[in-house]
Symmetry: C2
Subunit: 316 residues, 2 copies
């Protein structure tokens, strides 16, 4: 039997109310064994509500990392549900880690508790952006490393290409570098140097792409720094919401029908964001995730862990 | 009589076919006197098609800056329609400059030919993003300065606030810094330092905003570096297009009705982008602008020049 998926029971806007219900869904509906990391009394109380005390294992953690804190403090790095959960995966007692908590703290705890994969300079967050045609594109880095060097950005391309092969089934992914002009040499200091490095790496490099290409499906992998990637990801979220609200307000279509379109943008389709470049699998779900989304993230984490163990390749 | 608006007749995807027709529209329909800068034989041939030879003054220029070049070369900086047009404004023979050509080349030629306003470190491009409620927000810098220092970014806030007062009629504009977390101190090296500087400047500083706030109308001015701003602006363009195409494809609404919503995002509503921080007015229209949009940009440039001469204030 595979080791369980470890879920940060304290993370997310709804805390254990959503995470414990999500873990039970993942186990009962999808057969994913889940271990809950967090304050055991609080978790037990939630399990009791579902008449499930003892149904899932619990790993106790004293501390909780606040959702909107300024990074992880010393106690958070060792004694929080994030830290305890990552340590379990690092020791092989957990098969993958899932959190709906703060991305920044998750990155810190994962690097400390699970460790970077050999040769990886910095981890990167990967999310799948939808496209009108085809299965969408992997955006990497969507917010793990805010100030990467050009070499780190170039390496994100390798991490993203591995993810596109394993998760999206693209045998030879095409990689584009997000910039402010399609021609070679256009961009800022970071992208101009990253562009040179990318040309020498073993990836199929398309060249620069621009902001309007992000949802056009022109490449399989969109590479950028974690600052720009996070701004872009959240801008897509806000832009879709505003555009659909304008359509609804103009009386052109009903909000119900428009929700179908909104769902095409739901990052949870792919189980949230995956933190790439580690020795183990980490999935970061949206803070607002309801139980069904938490369950979906656990399923994806289990599947990703299988991919990771078979498809992990050394990074040049 | 005011000096004419100088129009780069050679800029834009459609060249003189669109610009000359646009200039005639601006003059005949809106009473804006326009001077055409570019190859006089080509311009004269276009004017002749409209039976308008001699109706608008022409300033001859030998060179054309290619739309997709890698910046402006030496000849482009002195002898192109961009350079000749900016020099006319710099000498006071033109009241404002309009181009649908390359933004990068326009910035170079404008700094050289018109000059920076006293105290301004770098120019910044301002565009108005729509919002569901209210008149939208000024995004600055949308692509003039790709690698600004923190001091430059902080100064963009002052330039943007001046534009919001003059053009959007906001008496005391609220300024937000685009970052990857709303809490103080969240962001990359550039935004963290810019945030500190902004707190000491004479603007009403809201603090950090995130990508999903860009179209939410929470602030009057969105401040960012020219790289992130340009990616965000083009991402909005692509995201609106993809979202409306998904709505159309789902059969929920007709493309015709959806075009009404698309128009709310049209940057030409405000006459294109304004290049701020110069001694004169420069408007950059979209490369694909048809004649009506060129005409609108000329009207806006005339109005902005009036604002500029009355409302220009020293930058700390």
């Amino acid at each position: 039997m595979n080791p369980p998926v470890v879920l940060d029971a304290m993370g997310g806007d709804h805390g254990p109310v959503a995470t414990v219900a999500g873990a039970l869904l993942a186990w009962r509906e999808h057969g994913v064994p889940v271990m809950l990391a967090g304050a055991s009394d609080v978790i037990d109380a939630e399990l009791r509500k579902h008449e499930a005390l003892g149904e899932l294992p619990v790993a106790h953690a004293d501390e909780v990392v606040p959702m909107a804190g300024s990074g992880a403090g010393a106690a958070a790095l060792t004694r929080s549900s994030l830290a305890v959960g990552c340590a379990l995966v690092g020791r092989g007692e957990g098969g993958a880690f899932v959190t709906a908590g703060s991305t920044g703290a998750a990155v810190s705890c994962a690097v400390r508790g699970i460790g970077r994969a050999p040769g990886v300079l910095r981890p990167a967050l990967a999310v799948v952006l939808p496209a009108l045609r085809g299965g969408g594109s992997v955006l990497v880095d969507a917010g793990a490393t805010a100030d990467p060097s050009p070499a780190m950005v170039a390496q994100f391309a390798l991490l993203g290409a591995g993810y596109a092969r394993a998760v999206l089934g693209r045998p030879d992914p095409l990689v584009g570098l997000l910039s402010i002009g399609a021609e070679p040499g256009k961009g800022n200091r970071l992208t101009r140097r990253a562009e040179e490095l990318l040309a020498g790496l073993p990836v199929r490099f398309h060249g620069n792409i621009e902001g309007h290409d992000a949802l056009a499906g022109v490449v399989d992998v969109i590479v950028t720094d974690g600052f720009t990637g996070n701004v872009l990801l959240k801008n897509v979220e806000g832009c879709v919401r505003t555009t659909l609200a304008m359509v609804a307000e103009a009386g052109i279509a009903s909000p119900g029908r428009l929700a179908e379109v909104a769902r095409r943008y739901d990052p949870e389709t792919h189980g949230g964001a995956a933190l790439l470049g580690l020795r183990g699998t980490v999935v970061v779900a949206h803070g607002s995730s309801p139980p069904a989304t938490i369950a979906r993230a656990c399923v994806v984490a289990r599947d990703l862990a299988r991919h990771d163990s078979t498809a992990r390749e050394p990074v040049p």
